[in-house]
Amino acid sequence: MTSQETVSPVHPVFRDDCFAGRTVFVTGASSGIGRSAAEALSRHGARLVLNGRSEERLRETLGRLSGEGHTVVPGELTDADATAELVKTAARDHGPFHGIFHAAGNFAVRAIKVTRQSHLHQTFDASVFGAYGVGRAAASPKVLADGGSLLLMSSVAALRGNAALAAYSGAKAAVLGLTRVLALELAGRRVRVNAVVASTITTEMHWKTLENADMTHVDANEARHPLGFGAPAQMDDAVMFLLGDASSWITGAEIPVDGGYSAG
């Protein structure tokens, strides 16, 4: 630390009732960024509808939420049609939603010479086809209310190349293209659509991928982040900002939340 003072102590940034009366649908809510964001939203008054593959793990998330009235809608997001149906049914039973955070998605490291169609499916199913399905459902005011906000997950892999990330980079770049078009198509209802461009966040998924990783590669990756790796809490505030009223003129945007990674 230098001789200079640091900024004064942390105050909560968002009003603790800024999501009161709002219902938010979160996919990928059984772990990681989706779970963490659901918890943060519930602390600010939101009612959560949680989707994920594992009902057991979704119920774990449910047990960690603040407030009342939350619910789980287990189900795998494998293609656009099934996802659209799942989201519409969830909205019919528990909606309409004021916000949707599509956090579901798989990360995979695989060289192109061994990347098969089945691997592309694993990477594209929830991230891309799921996003198309969520978007299709969100086009209906019965699913995402007028003035609502849809947030998709992209990655710095959409902006920069990295060896062995062909499938993942392609999937996350597809999300950015989808985001721009959805923003235009839904602007008439003042529904906003944005994508978070995330870099390495120290979630369980991150620790799991580290189990077999070359640590020199991991260290080199961390060194490419001027502000280091991120923590899920740092994503939570981006999610709250982009789903909430403070960003009501932000749509069609790709927003890096990446510790400075894509600046250099």
Partner: protein, 254 residues
């Protein structure tokens, strides 16, 4: 009602340039309403004083400063910090628009557009890099525009100035990261300020329609930009730096 907690900037000292009107004035009001002590900078001290007296909270200061050059801006900003305390946040929103085709551009036009728009931003960041001007962990937001991303006839000087600012922000973000000082820009589209209304009054119906059609969510309000300023200057964005944040109602998408 604001989505931000009313004391989220309590105890923070924030410099706002271009604070006497439009977006800078609105941002100054918003950061003050959320607890910050504000150092207001602009060229006209009378209008600055009017803004100061209208702000909620105490101890705000005004500074009549010309930000047209790198060195003069750096000296002025460092001087304000020395006299009033180091900053936790800076919102740099000084700058002018210029509508003029390339074939008519002269040195003086570029000097005007790049003066406060670019050189003043360089000077402010130069000051921020110095000891005692910016606290570690602070945050800087610089006003940019979708003009940095999309060309328009007769806007080359403005577009280039905004591109320059966006590049500056990326580089400064890397340089300042060891002190966890974050540097970002806000790329806004048309915001309904007094300047915007003057512009709208000066163009014909066809141009008005074209301009309006370019904004799928309509024109923005100064508060829309102010909310982005709150987001970037508060503790909500500690892992966001070197970003050119679009706040434009999808104008850049079109």
């Amino acid at each position: 009602m604001s989505a931000f907690a009313e004391d989220c900037l309590r105890g923070r000292h924030i410099l706002v340039t271009g604070a006497s009107s439009g977006i800078g004035k609105a941002a100054a009001e918003q950061v003050a309403a959320h607890g910050a002590r504000v150092a207001l900078v602009a060229r006209n001290s009378e209008r600055l004083e009017a803004v100061r007296t209208s702000l909620p909270g105490e101890d705000h200061t005004i500074h009549q400063v010309d930000l047209e050059g790198v060195d003069t801006a750096a000296v002025a900003v460092a001087g304000i910090a020395k006299a009033n305390g180091a900053f936790d946040g800076i919102f740099y929103s000084a700058g002018a628009t210029l509508v003029l085709p390339v074939r008519l551009l002269k040195d003086k036009h570029l000097d005007e557009t790049f003066g406060a728009g670019v050189y003043g931003a360089f000077g402010t960041l130069k000051a921020a890099a110095k000891k005692g001007v910016m606290n570690d962990g602070g945050s800087i937001a610089v006003m940019s525009s979708v003009a940095a991303l999309r060309g328009r006839p007769a806007l080359s000087a403005y577009c280039a100035a905004k591109s320059a600012v966006d590049s500056l922000v990326r580089c400064a973000a890397l340089e300042f990261a060891p002190r966890r000082i974050r540097v970002n820009s806000i790329r806004a589209a048309a915001v309904e300020t007094p300047l915007h209304h003057d512009y709208m009054a000066s163009i014909g119906p066809e141009a008005t329609k074209d301009y309006t059609d370019r904004h799928p969510l309509g024109f923005g309000q100064p508060e829309d930009v102010g909310n982005a300023v709150l987001y970037l200057l508060s503790d909500a964005s500690p892992w966001i730096s070197g970003v050119n944040l679009l706040v434009d109602g999808a104008a850049a998408v079109k």
